[in-house]
Amino acid sequence: MDLNIIIQPIDGPREEEKISIQKVRMAIKLGFEVVALNVIVDGQQMEGKNLKIPEPPVIKLGDFEMAEVKVAGKTFQVKSRLTCVVSDTNQCHHLTRSPLAKKYDILAVQPMNEKIFQHVCGNMEVDIICLDLASRLPFTLKREQVGQASTRGMFFEIQYAPCLKDRIARRNTISNSRILTQLTNKVNIIISSGSSQVMDLRSCFDAANLGLLFDLPENKCKEAVWSNCKKVLSQAVSRKLPGKGVLFMGGASQLQPSDQWLLKACKMPTTGQEVVSSEKKSTVSITSDCSIVTKQKKKKIRLS
């Protein structure tokens, strides 16, 4: 999974679309299953009334690409992501209220100073916090704030594309991400490309291997590339909805044999087609009115 493929408006929309299709095609070839197209918005574009957040990018995949996916026996999804560079609480306020920002699947924030970082970790509802690891960090990260963000289900991002070219950027990325992994106890980290060019994309196993340089153990490397990105997506879905949990519906026939007890427990008529099953089956608890609450929801209620 790669949640960061940067799209820049170069030479009009057509050129942009052509390049982004190239990127997506490359991502399919490298074996990605989920890809997020990233739109970066500067902080000054969000001040006052002149809010300039572009519409989320839409990409139409041709039959050719889909055929390639089908041959590999995989699914492929394209998500949209908005990254805002913020340096002011006012900008954060505008961001949370704008209707355009809600159209995006994933919301990411890049804080520029310590005060705003504290605000983002404590109060804001975003999915990803990305820091510019390729240069010297403008402020020192504190364990409290980082821990607060990770308990609220936010993820920190390490981008590897800037360190492919520049040696100094490479050094800074390695040292900063080592600090970051230490502060987050090596969880709540995702590794993504952050590539603006097509050839900067690397396959997911390459990215997982790079995690070893960032002082992550082997299992956490894999988590950072696959399962943590999944968590980001489910978190993003729950953020957008008015409710505070995520339920996944499926037919009763799709239930695995180990989860058949759910049918009995819910006193559902077995002839009825629809039954609710949650994504995390191990953490399911059942309330009196036969609705299934995931652990995620409980956690959130306690927090709020």
């Binding site: 364990r143 490479r170 050094r171 800074n172 990325t173 390695i174 040292s175 080592r178 340089l213």
Partner: protein, 162 residues
């Protein structure tokens, strides 16, 4: 509160034979900054960008004594292995050509300095053997050494300073 673990290197600077200083003090171009730079350069040469990146955080010189030519280097635990191997490849600091000798590696700066005190005392005895001293001087030295020993047992001075 999770503790950030560090490693402290106690390193002695040994000048090359031709440039042995007369008064026991090192050349003025050898200071904390130049030492740090040359160590970092040798880490870059031996371990490349990865080595520099890994050791960059918390990489400082905690103490430098130009009279006894000893310095204490702080590195985070983990990448200290890279620094340890790179220290022996340092050839030049400032304009002095020299070699580095790692005396001690420890987890706290206190145990580093404890070792340094004992080491210095040994060195002092070596130096004093080559000089002919009067009875008065000998007594003075003996007195001051006794004083410092009391200080070690109390460990008050160490805590105050660091």
């Amino acid at each position: 509160m999770v503790r950030v673990k560090q490693r402290y290197f106690l390193v002695e600077i040994i000048p090359s034979v031709s440039q042995r200083p007369l008064l026991g003090e090192l050349h003025s171009s050898v200071n904390e900054r130049s030492i740090l730079r040359s160590v970092r350069e040798s880490v870059e040469e031996i371990h490349g960008d990865f080595g520099v990146g890994a050791t960059q955080a918390g990489f400082t010189i905690k103490m430098f004594n130009s009279k006894t030519s000893v310095f204490v280097l702080r590195v985070r635990r983990g990448p200290h292995v890279l620094v340890a191997s790179a220290l022996s490849f340092v050839r030049k600091i400032g304009i002095m050509s020299l070699t580095l000798k790692t005396l001690h590696l420890s987890g706290t700066i206190r145990s580093c300095l404890k070792f340094l005190q004992q080491y210095d005392r040994q060195q002092l005895i070596h130096v004093l053997r080559h000089h002919q001293l009067s009875q008065d001087q000998k007594e003075k030295i003996h007195e001051s050494m006794l004083k410092s020993e009391q200080k070690i047992s109390g460990e008050t001075e160490l805590r105050e300073e660091y």
